[in-house]
Structures are given as structure tokens and as C-alpha cells.
Symmetry: C2
């Protein structure tokens, strides 16, 4: 992509209503814009990162044997009455009366819809195991939407649901998703911890939260460095009193510490919490009718991006891992009035594009300073600098955004070297 | 994918509430299920087709220079009051009062949101031309949702918006989208006609509708076979009286005919209809502040699938073009108790998958009749039949779903031949 044709309205100043660093940087780097409280538009650079995250999730879900579906956002309230979750969710659930007087709600999550669907289509133990997932928009009327896309009223969730004939099989389905989650977050460049958690409004048995440690995080987890015990504060509180640094670990007795963490994934062993009230039964090997054993697995897709930025930035801007960066490399012709610089930069750009490297060329006729500032702010993993001094020696500079270290490379070896740093080829 | 692990609950009988063939077949072929009036769940096969259509659209939009964004479904009603379209849309627009008492609506379309966004970010003629698009869910409270996904309350739309400094540039942007639409519909295997249309609630100047002729279509267009004149009935009515077959063509005077068509795309020259009330202005070359000239371009993504099925089916089921089929080829081992059949089928399956051919293997231990019935019903473009008789002669049969003609191919030439029929390799 050429910068002059792209839509990248970066901002010099922090927006006034942004409280956390990811929100500030997502606005300044032209990833998002606010439409109204809790609802954000993704601009092209933000959408590209979001799309790359979605594709990583999709790949790993399919690898784990899950099949993609797409369920409606519009849901009949009656379905929620069957599980009484309309009461549990309360004002968080957005409801409206349609022109025929029927009360419809906007799905804050999809356990009811998918269980209702499966109850009509799965009838035998032979139809299982099945894991279905979707990448879809959820709606929640948050009391206090804040932190940009970290807590908004409309957000993209990957939600998966497993259906099994017995607890043992459910454990296998659960493990597959758990492992897939580890691969997803690693590929997205996130450092995360996994804690035992309170299932909350989802109900059911054990659950695990995938958390990204960050100073600005609102969720507090209890960590024991001695034995490795990790739990959400809610679980801990139910076992003991309000915890503080230095309290004894419930497992080994050594000292625990508290850590701030902005949740990116949650896996739940639901058991029969939804299958029972919604009548999702199957005939077992012995002919007996039993309730389907379920699991559910959520990932906040927008949150992956915000969490990454929250922990991967410096004073100049965002630092993207290549796998989810809006572009992998930014080519900077430092003087657009120098024909030789323009020609060489353009050739490098086309060579990289031909090799399917996701490159952008900053072909604006602006100062080198502005180009460097924007490149650092948006945080493309690599910058390729084409300057008058360098091309005289038949070289260009390849700068690593994170370390800010530059190496000189021969012009005719650019593609090979860039593939090397990006993919280890 | 192996059929035994897939989620493909085909139905033997037509669903009672389905009026048109696409709705019947989408239900029977396990593409969709109804959740409530006007809201459908896509099952894995339906989602796969939908996803392939989305990717074709995405590719052609990017090729035409458009950049992808993602705008919120939740929109403040005030924005709609600025253009008075809250009144135009009336009860079609879904509105609710949030917990703070603010009236929010669910976007039935996004002209207001994108124009408001662009009004803050584009300030000079140098910032244009720009074309932004999204593939996103729209909500409309239809008076009478019907025909499955052809007229539902929740649907996926590709909506693009162009922003130009003058009429001449807008014509160029419009032409690019118009050409992209032709490529998209052709790649999806749709036979379509393009008619002059009434812009309706969108407003602005000239518009074009992309229509698929189908006997069940609700939209009537006027066609003149002599001079090629084509117009929607609404345009025609505004020029003359209610038309009927044999009326004189307004262009050449010869006889017109009426044709039934379920619109799949619409392109609009909006002019300044939205930029003016929403204050989307720019400084021109001469320093003067002018209103941005806009175009907008919609495609009903779900409708592409339903329209295709509406015109591409026979008594046995759907006939998919390979480009958007849920799977490109269905391998049918006719007897799962014959080890040699199972082994050969399995090897063929893995060979095809290795060559990135989107294959499914019907590994169910059911009769050949059931396998053929499901293969024809879902309508995979090709069936690869592995039977006892054939493997004795070291061959398998490759059957074309559309013509039902089968050719014998040597087992070790299967991959090559399948690539040949699918991609012309």
C-alpha cells in the first residue's frame, strides 16, 4: 500500500478521554475512532490487525477440530427465560420491542442459542464429540464503558462450544481448546498467565482465565512463585479473606503476591447447566436419554489487540509483533524530490509485495522527521530507510522498531534479508 | 473434512414455512437453521460458502483500491436526525433506550456513520479519492421477514463509500466499483443484469441495481431486447404508467418485456446528500471549502448465496459453482466394510487435501443411496465414487454434479484430473 492513497489519520496529541495507554495509542496510530460511548470504528490499519488476529484464531480453531458457524445477534427473550439468565444479566442485556410487539434481545453471549440449535440436531452419542465456534459481534449495555475497545458495548468475540456424551470426552474437548488458546496467544505475541477462575454468570464447574499481566489491568490475580499456584481474586476470596501481598499460599503455605491483569480468554466446563433447561439430550450406547455435557470457550478479539499494545509500547508508540502488525514493514524514502531514492524505494516495495510481504511505502512528500515519527507511533516491526547517503554506497538501512537498531544491507539483498528477519527464512 | 466428524444435519423433507426454493434447499442441505422470524444461524456448510463469498468480495474490493474498515452496529440516533433519515426509515430502524436513557439505534446502513467519521479526518482535496468498505451485519425490523435469508432482519452487507473532490473523480470511483461488482458476481457464478434504478431512501442521483433474473423474484424490471434498455419498474413508473409486456420502449420504441428478479447489489451516486447535512467539507485547490462528493455501493452477502441457489438447482438439490461451494469435491467410498475401498478413498482424500483441494470424504457407514442423495442435495460440484467394481480395474469415477455425467479415471491420476476440472490446471 502507498501511504498517499491510504487512510491513516494519525494524531499528534493524546485524546482527552483516553485513560489507558492502549486506548491513547490506538487513537493516535489511526487504528480506531470513537463513534459514541462504548462503540468504536476500526480504521483500515486497525481493521488489518483485527483481521490478522481473527485468521490466527480461525486457523487454530480448525486445527483443533472445531467447525465455524455464525449465529444471529437478534435473539428471542423466551430462550433466555428458560435458563433464567435474563435475570442474571439484568441491564447488561440490550432488549427492544419489535414492530409486532415481540421482545428481542441482542446476544451478549450465545450459550442459549447454540444449545437450542444443537438440541434439535444432535440425538445420539454417535453425533458427538462436536465443537462449534463463531467469530461474531456481541452487545452489552455496560454501566461504564471505558478504556477504548477494552470495555465497550459492542465487541467481537470468538465463542466456541463443545458437546460431549460424558465427562471424560468433555475433558478431551476442553483440553483441545485450552491447547489451542495457548497457541493463539503465543502466535499473537502475548505473554499470558492462566489462572483458576470463578465461572460467574456462565455457571458450571471449573474454569480457566487467560490473563495478560499489565499495570493498568483491572482484574487482580493471586500468584505463588514457589509452587506455581494461580487463581483469580474471586476464587481466592471464596476460599479465604480478601487477599494481600505476602498472605500464605493455600497450596504450599509460602507467600503469595497480587498481580494486575484486562482478561483475553476464558474457558468453562459447563456440564449440563444449559443442556438440562434447554432439553439438549441424546441417546447413549445403552439407549438411555442423557443430558449433553458442554464446555464453552471465549476470546475477546478486540482485547487481544488492546492487551498487546498495553504491554508492547514505548514512549514513541506501539511495538507490533509481525504476525498481527497492520503492515510488516514500512519503506521510508527520506526525500521524495530525489528521483533515485524514489526509484529504488519503489522497486524495493514492488519486490517485497511480489514475495507476499505486507509492506507499506511512505511516499508522502513530507520531512524525514514526520515519516520516522509516524513509523514509530504506528509501530511497524521493521523500517527500511532509503536515504541519499546510503544509496551512494548501494545500501539501505533495516531498522528494528523494538530495539531501534539498524543494520545496513545491500540493495539487491533486501528481499532476502527482510524475509529472513520476518519469517526466519 | 471427514463426514463423521462434520456437523451436516441434512433434512429429507421441505420445511413447512419455506416458500422459495433457495430457502427450502438451504434448510435441507444443512446450510442454515431458523432461530426466530428473520434471524438465521449458519451451520458449518453454510458458513463456508458465506466465507468464500466474503473473500471474493474482499479481494475484488482491495483490487479496486478500496480499504477495509469496521463500523459499529450501535449508532446514536442524533446522527440520523441530522439527515432526517430516522423519519425515512421509520419502523424499519431498530431503536432502544440504553441504561442511561440515551436512544441508540442498530445500523440499517452506514452512510451517516461513515460521513461523520470522514468529516473529521478528510480536510483537503489531497486526502481524496478514498473508498472505504466493510463487511458487516445490518439490522432492519422488516414488516414481513420471509424467503429465508433473502429478506431477514439481520444480514451481512458489504457496504462501500467513495469520497471525491469533484463529480469527474466521483465518476471514476463509481466506475471502479461498478467494474468490481461485475467481477464479484461473475466469480460467484451468478448470471445478472444491470438496470437503472430509483435511489429510493438512499437519495442522490443515478443508481444501478445488479439483479439476478429468477421466477420467484419480487422485483420487476423492464427489459428491451432490441436496444438493451433496462430499468427497474420504479424508474419506469416514474416516466410512464404502470408497465406491461409489449409496451413501447422509452428509448427505441420497440416492445419491452417485464422480468422477475431479489437484488444482489446496488450502486448509488450520492452527490452531497450526506456530506452537506453532516458537514463533510474539504479545502479545494483554490482554498475554497466545498462539500465532499460521495458514492455508495452495497452487496447483500447472504443474498448472493440464496440467489445462486435460486437459479442453480435441480430436482435433487443445489448445484454449486466451485468458487463458493462448501466443499469442492465429495469422495464417496460406497462400502465402508470393504477395507480396500476405505484405504484407497482415504489415500485419495489425503492427496487432494495436500494439494489444497477443499475435499470432504463421506466416511459414514451408510448405504450408497444415502451418500448419493446427500451429495446431490448439498450439491458439491464433483463427486468421486470409489466402488468395488471400479477399484478392481484400478479406476474411480468422477461425476459432475450439474451434468450428472461420470468419467472413469485411473486411481493414480485422480489429483491431476481433479485439479484440471476444478481450476483448469
Amino acid at each position: 500500500m502507498k501511504w498517499t492513497t491510504a487512510f491513516i489519520p494519525t494524531l499528534r496529541e493524546d485524546p482527552q478521554d483516553a485513560e489507558v495507554i492502549s486506548h491513547k495509542l490506538m487513537m493516535r496510530a489511526a487504528l480506531i475512532r470513537k463513534l459514541t460511548a462504548g462503540a468504536y470504528s476500526y480504521l483500515p490499519l486497525g481493521f488489518k490487525a483485527l483481521y490478522k488476529v481473527q485468521n490466527i484464531i480461525r486457523e487454530e480453531m480448525v486445527k483443533a477440530g472445531a467447525q465455524e458457524v455464525l449465529l444471529p445477534a437478534l435473539q428471542p427473550l423466551e430462550l433466555w427465560k428458560k435458563t433464567s439468565r435474563d435475570k442474571d444479566l439484568g441491564e447488561v442485556m440490550i432488549k427492544f420491542r419489535d414492530r409486532h410487539g415481540k421482545i428481542t434481545c441482542l446476544g451478549p453471549t450465545h450459550e442459549e442459542v447454540i444449545t437450542d440449535l444443537v438440541s434439535r440436531e444432535i440425538s445420539s452419542y454417535r453425533d458427538m464429540p462436536k465443537t462449534l465456534f463463531q467469530i461474531q459481534t456481541k452487545f452489552r449495555d455496560e454501566l461504564r464503558p471505558r478504556f477504548g475497545v477494552l470495555r465497550s458495548c459492542e465487541f467481537i468475540m470468538k465463542d466456541a462450544y463443545s458437546f460431549d456424551a460424558n465427562e471424560k470426552d468433555m475433558e478431551l474437548s476442553y483440553k483441545k481448546m485450552y491447547d489451542a488458546y495457548e497457541r493463539i496467544f503465543s502466535r499473537c505475541g502475548l505473554k499470558y498467565i492462566i489462572v483458576e477462575a470463578d465461572p460467574g454468570v456462565m455457571g458450571g464447574g471449573l474454569s480457566h482465565e487467560f490473563m495478560v499481566p499489565a499495570p493498568s489491568g483491572e482484574d487482580i490475580v493471586v500468584v505463588c512463585d514457589s509452587c506455581g499456584y494461580k487463581a483469580s481474586k474471586d476464587v481466592f476470596v471464596s476460599k479465604a479473606k480478601e487477599p494481600k501481598d505476602g498472605d500464605p499460599c493455600p497450596k504450599c503455605g509460602k507467600k503469595i503476591k497480587l498481580q494486575n491483569t484486562i482478561e483475553i480468554g476464558h474457558t468453562f466446563k459447563l456440564g449440563t447447566k444449559y443442556s438440562k433447561p434447554l432439553g439438549a439430550k441424546f441417546s447413549d450406547r445403552d439407549g438411555a436419554l442423557r443430558d449433553i455435557i458442554m464446555g464453552c470457550y471465549g476470546i475477546g478479539v478486540n482485547r487481544i489487540i488492546a492487551s498487546l499494545i498495553e504491554i508492547s509500547n514505548d514512549k514513541d508508540g506501539i511495538i507490533w509483533p509481525a504476525a498481527i502488525a497492520p503492515f510488516e514493514i514500512d519503506i521510508l524514502p527520506l526525500n521524495m524530490k530525489n528521483d533515485k531514492i524514489v526509484k529504488i524505494s519503489d522497486k524495493i516495495y514492488h519486490d517485497l509485495i511480489d514475495k507476499h510481504i505486507d509492506a507499506i511505502i511512505d511516499d508522502r512528500d513530507v520531512s524525514a522527521g514526520i515519516k520516522f515519527k509516524d513509523a514509530d507511533l504506528i509501530g511497524f516491526p521493521y523500517q527500511l530507510i532509503v536515504s541519499e547517503k546510503n544509496i551512494k554506497n548501494n545500501i539501505v538501512e533495516l531498522k528494528d522498531r523494538k530495539t531501534q537498531k539498524a543494520e545496513e544491507i545491500k540493495i539487491d539483498e533486501v528481499t532476502k534479508r527482510v524475509k529472513g528477519v520476518l519469517y526466519g527464512d
